[in-house]
């Protein structure tokens, strides 16, 4: 059909195009002006971080392990138990994080809350090929960290020994990895909150 010979058709087409343009522009405008959800923060702001409570617990060989031993490192502190299904989901992630980030100053430390002690924990550690240190915790250890009841409960601790994020229950692998990567960055890189003026990256 020839539009020159059919003016009403041309008019309809033109109006249609204008309407389409209007819809598109309104749509884009709506998107542009809509309140944007801020990106989810992986770690708490520097000013909101509190010191991770110190503890002394024993590993399977009987060696005393202190949180202070990890000074200057980013630590993923995982409260878990062998009877905890959600913990078993996260543990392979932590094994991989230990392998991937260890050379950058990162360590995973598992605190088992099993009542049965090493009798239950050691076979689990072997079966899951856990490549990081595991210590035996107790209610007192949980109380130090605000009364850990739900497992897993995982704290990501910055290089200054402060709690940068808390994960209660099964969390997403990405949440952990984002937190670790942010905390491993040198001060001033990535997020302005990654470390404060007193940060000592690399220690």
């Amino acid at each position: 059909m020839n539009s020159v010979n059919n003016p009403p058709t041309k008019l309809v087409r033109t109006a249609g195009r204008m309407a389409l343009a209007l819809i598109v522009s309104v749509g884009l405008g709506t998107v542009a002006c809509a309140p944007q959800e801020p990106p989810r923060k992986a770690v708490k702001d520097d000013k909101d971080r509190k010191p991770a409570p110190e503890f002394e617990l024993k590993d399977a060989s009987g060696k005393v392990v202190k949180l202070a031993d990890y000074k200057g490192k980013v630590v993923l502190l995982d409260f878990w138990a062998t009877w905890c299904g959600p913990c078993a989901i996260e543990i392979p992630w932590f094994v991989e994080f230990q392998r991937k980030y260890k050379d950058q100053g990162f360590e995973v430390l598992g605190i088992s809350m099993d009542d049965d002690g090493w009798k239950a924990v050691t076979p689990f550690v072997t079966a899951k090929k856990i490549n990081y240190r595991v210590v035996q915790g107790n209610d007192a250890t949980g109380d130090l960290y605000g009364g850990v009841e739900a497992l897993p409960t995982t704290f990501v601790i910055d290089r200054e020994g402060r709690i940068a994020s808390v994960h209660i229950g099964l969390s997403s692998r990405k949440d952990f990895e984002d937190a670790i990567e942010q905390l491993l960055q040198p001060a001033g890189v990535g997020s302005p909150n990654a470390a404060g003026p007193g940060a000592k990256p690399g220690l």
Binding site: K41, E149, L151, I168
Partner: protein, 157 residues
């Protein structure tokens, strides 16, 4: 300005949890039992009625995974002699943390124990005592095993 939905999302973000930890274990409630009357030569049945809060589950006596802690009822003392325990069958439920469905109880359930009166038992009142052990989880977390004391008044006539 942030939308309310955004603020809610931030409030629920684990990294910004208002508490360090402190999420409490669910409390399993056992309904108090009326006095059980039994003849000196008879048998008795005690049915414990228990319940878990909505959103929580506990493993049955026969969990589907070896690593899970089963629900157990242990009678530790009293005038009656235990013969058998019938645990709730529960149901198979799928959870985000398990590849396979798990055998669990939710809500209200019952555990039935059959007893006999041992030979030479003295007539009169007594207390049948025991412990119900359970381990509960919700969709995202598990809680340490708990022991609930059970105490049922028994009267041998």
């Amino acid at each position: 300005m942030w939308a309310p939905r955004t603020l809610l999302a931030l409030a629920l973000s684990p990294a910004f949890s208002p508490y360090v930890a402190g999420q409490m274990a669910p409390v399993l409630t056992v309904v108090p039992q009326p006095t059980v009357k039994v003849s000196k030569t008879g048998t008795a049945t005690i049915t414990l009625k228990a319940s878990l809060p909505t959103g929580y589950h506990a493993n049955t006596n026969k969990p589907t995974e070896e690593y899970l802690i089963p629900m157990t009822l242990k009678w530790t003392g009293g005038p009656l002699q235990m013969e058998s325990i019938e645990y709730p069958k529960g149901g198979l439920e799928k959870y985000p943390f398990s590849d396979k469905p798990l055998s669990v109880v939710t809500g209200e359930f019952s555990i039935t124990t059959k007893f006999k009166v041992p030979a030479g038992a003295q007539t009169g009142p007594g207390a049948q005592v025991g412990t119900l052990r359970y381990q509960a989880c919700d969709n995202k977390a598990c809680y340490p095993p708990k022991n609930v004391p059970v105490n049922v008044t028994v009267h041998i006539e």
